[in-house]
């Protein structure tokens, strides 16, 4: 990402400008809703009510949030190492494959307490392995990780189709799905857990994996900002030459960062396969890997930001489903559209509003010359 071109206080740079960007994205979304003949305000109300207004909605919202946290963290940690992992989709897919294979192999023999860590491990290992190949190719063969991860998304899809259709399909059925896991191979739903302590809520797909997602957030934060490995990873991301000077091996960091990234994306499979579907099937990643890019960009690659952005996208997904249900002219793809706009405004056009905000800021606060940057303050492009 290009740096903000002028000096602004932190609260504007990391608080106000992202909010402006999201507002711009939502504004355009509103115009689209208007264009198809609906009332944007009504749509917003339906979405928010559908996502947060009642127990079932909240459950679904948090279930989506879980996936976004995983893929958002995956993109974020790669960004810190200066890498753009567009392969979250494929890594999530293969991660789910790992979880499914382990469950299919062991669910009749091992108890849940052993299958739980095994499932996490399998999702991480398979996701990491799928990211490791593009990482290795970038580090040692010089092929760019952006292109290779795109290619690996398609290859993952092909591998899954082949395996589900030809190998893992439950004999005697048409749809390419495996058999259902036994009880031991299923994560408990939150509504089941709450029922265990006497609280009754509507059943939703929300399951134990959201706890793991939050643990991952803390873990990623601590890793990036509190360990020497995170320090070295950020050094490589910001300035590879300085990292080499500091005794860091950038190739190792590239592979390590992508493996962690892939492992995090692989946890989508943990949520979906072990937590929700309890069987292996096709297309369970449903674009969550790409949404992770939007989540990470919006969350400024910080775990706290990722959680907030994931919640927002959870609301959008669940609210969008509700909206599609209530308003026949609107479909769930509206959410995909909004997602694209968010990536556009808070990613590609992230600093579009900065010159204006800077000008306004100077107008209101007055420009203190002694804090000025040494950099030129012109911000307009040459076009």
């Amino acid at each position: 990402m290009s740096a903000p071109p002028a000096e602004l206080p932190r609260w504007i740079d990391i608080g106000l400008i992202p909010v402006i960007n999201i507002c711009l994205a939502l504004l355009v979304s509103g115009l689209i809703i208007l264009a198809i003949g609906e009332n944007p305000w009504d749509a917003l109300v339906i979405m928010v009510r559908g996502a947060l207004g009642y127990g079932e909605g909240v459950g679904y919202t948090l279930y989506y949030t879980t996936n976004f946290i995983f893929t958002g963290l995956a993109v974020a940690i790669a960004f810190h190492a200066g890498l753009f992992n567009i392969g979250g989709e494929g890594q999530a897919y293969i991660g789910g494959l790992g979880v499914g294979l382990v469950m299919l192999a062991f669910d009749s023999y091992l108890p849940f307490v052993l299958l739980l860590p095994l499932g996490i491990l399998a999702g991480a290992l398979f996701g990491a392995a799928w990211a490791a190949i593009p990482a290795w190719l970038q580090a040692y063969r010089g092929s760019h990780v952006v292109i290779t991860t795109i290619m690996f998304n398609f290859i993952a899809a092909a591998v899954m189709v082949y395996l589900m259709v030809n190998v893992l399909i439950k004999p005697g059925q048409m749809s390419p799905e495996s058999r259902e896991f036994t009880e031991a191979g299923q994560l408990p739903f939150i509504h089941e857990m709450l029922a265990g302590i006497g609280i009754t809520v509507t059943p939703t797909p929300l399951n134990l994996s959201i706890v793991w997602a939050l643990i991952c957030c803390v873990g990623v934060w601590a890793f990036i900002w509190r360990t020497r490995w995170g320090y070295e990873l950020r050094a490589v991301g910001h300035n590879e030459a300085a990292a080499v000077y500091a005794g860091v091996r950038p190739r190792h960091i590239v592979v390590a960062a992508m493996c962690i990234s892939g492992a995090l994306a692989g946890f989508v499979g943990f949520n979906e396969i072990m937590g929700v579907h309890h069987r292996l099937l096709l297309n369970f990643t449903a674009g969550y890997g790409f949404t992770g890019i939007a989540v990470s960009l919006m969350g400024r690659n910080h775990p706290v930001g990722v959680v907030l952005a994931s919640l927002l996208f959870g609301v959008l997904y669940q609210g969008g489903a509700e909206l599609a249900f209530e308003v026949p002219t609107i479909t769930r793809e509206l959410v995909v559209t909004i997602q694209g706009l968010v990536i556009l405004f808070s990613g590609a056009l992230a600093y579009m509003s900065t010159p204006w905000v800077t000008r306004l800021y100077r107008l209101f606060v007055g420009w203190r010359a002694d804090t000025a940057a040494t950099a030129p303050t012109t911000t307009t492009g040459e076009a």
Partner: protein
């Protein structure tokens, strides 16, 4: 023998049809990327153009208006990409991802709102589409052995946009290597500062490159929905924009080699469809998905430097900032 020949001709004919959007898109990507602007949004631009072209054809009945609208859509998206990447120095990959996701959603949202057919546009009559053209003498030559078949069933009988795609390649080559604009375009992708100091506007050059990219992806999208098919269906590009990108890289960012890669990838696809369920002697039945995934695998292998080396334009992906 006769059967094998006919089979080969039919396969090649299918190859031409599959390769057409790939060729248009990889020539589009060629202009953008040789100017230094990464474009992974070929897919999104093509999808948007396909949808609008089909919608306009359904509404007006004119394939020509549809073509113009498809092109206008893709050009608008290309300008948006340029606005983000050239004017605002945004990340080119992020911008491309945004456009792809935006279009995969918006085409369905608008499709359902406008036509209420689950994202599909109404089926088009022949008069509303670009239909196959019989080249002169195809009938006369039909009886000539081999050549007649080749001419009549492979070269003749495609729609106009197919011929446009095949003409786009020599044209792209000529523009890139034989014109002033091409010289400057290639230069700006290698060393924008050299172009700037030579008194040429980097931004305007790159804008022209993305405009051409929009034009060609617009034709590709129009081809998909109103020439090769009779309607738009959701996600109808199905990754072909990415395959075109792969072909561009596989062709090392050069027009003729990229063209060759498009034909190869098209052939793989055509063969895959024809080999569905047919066992190959000595190998057995090859799963179609693997043949379809082969372009991606081949591109990765190429990028890894195991077969030759693909060297990208030097300044690709870097926004040009004057005062740095």
């Amino acid at each position: 023998m006769e059967d094998a020949f006919i089979f080969a001709v039919l396969t090649l004919n299918a190859t031409v049809r599959v390769a057409t959007p790939l060729i248009l898109c990889s020539m589009a990507g060629l202009f953008s990327e040789r100017s230094g602007v990464i474009d992974i949004s070929l897919e999104g631009k093509m999808l948007g153009a396909a949808f609008i072209a089909a919608s306009v054809a359904a509404a007006t009945g004119s394939p020509w208006l549809a073509l113009a609208a498809g092109i206008a859509t893709a050009v608008f998206l290309a300008l948006l990409h340029g606005f983000a990447c050239i004017t605002h120095h945004g990340n080119q990959v992020v911008s491309g991802v945004a456009l792809n996701i935006l279009m995969s959603g918006l085409t369905v949202v608008l499709g359902i709102a406008w036509f209420h057919r689950g994202g599909q546009t109404p089926s088009l009559e022949s008069s509303e589409r670009f239909m196959p053209i019989s080249l002169p003498l195809a009938d006369v030559l039909a009886d000539v052995p081999v050549l007649g078949t080749l001419y009549g069933r492979l070269i003749s009988g495609h729609n106009l946009l197919v011929y446009v795609a095949f003409l786009a390649v020599p044209l792209a080559w000529w523009v890139l290597y034989r014109t002033r604009f091409g010289l400057r375009l290639r230069a700006v992708g290698e060393n924008p500062k050299a172009v700037d100091t030579a008194g040429i506007s980097v931004a305007w050059l790159r804008y022209r490159a993305v405009l051409i990219c929009g034009l060609l992806t617009g034709i590709a999208g129009t081809y998909l929905s109103i020439a090769n098919n009779a309607a738009f269906v959701r996600d109808m590009t199905a990754g072909q924009g990415y395959i075109a990108l792969a072909a561009l890289i596989f062709g090392k960012w050069r027009p003729w080699t990229a063209f060759g890669a498009c034909l190869l990838f098209g052939l793989l696809n055509a063969v895959a469809i024809r080999l569905q369920g047919v066992p190959i002697p000595g190998i057995g039945e090859v799963p179609v998905v693997f043949i379809q995934a082969l372009p991606y695998v081949l591109t990765v292998v190429l990028l890894a430097g195991f077969i030759g080396k693909a060297v990208a334009p030097k300044a690709i992906g870097e926004p040009y900032m004057k005062e740095s």
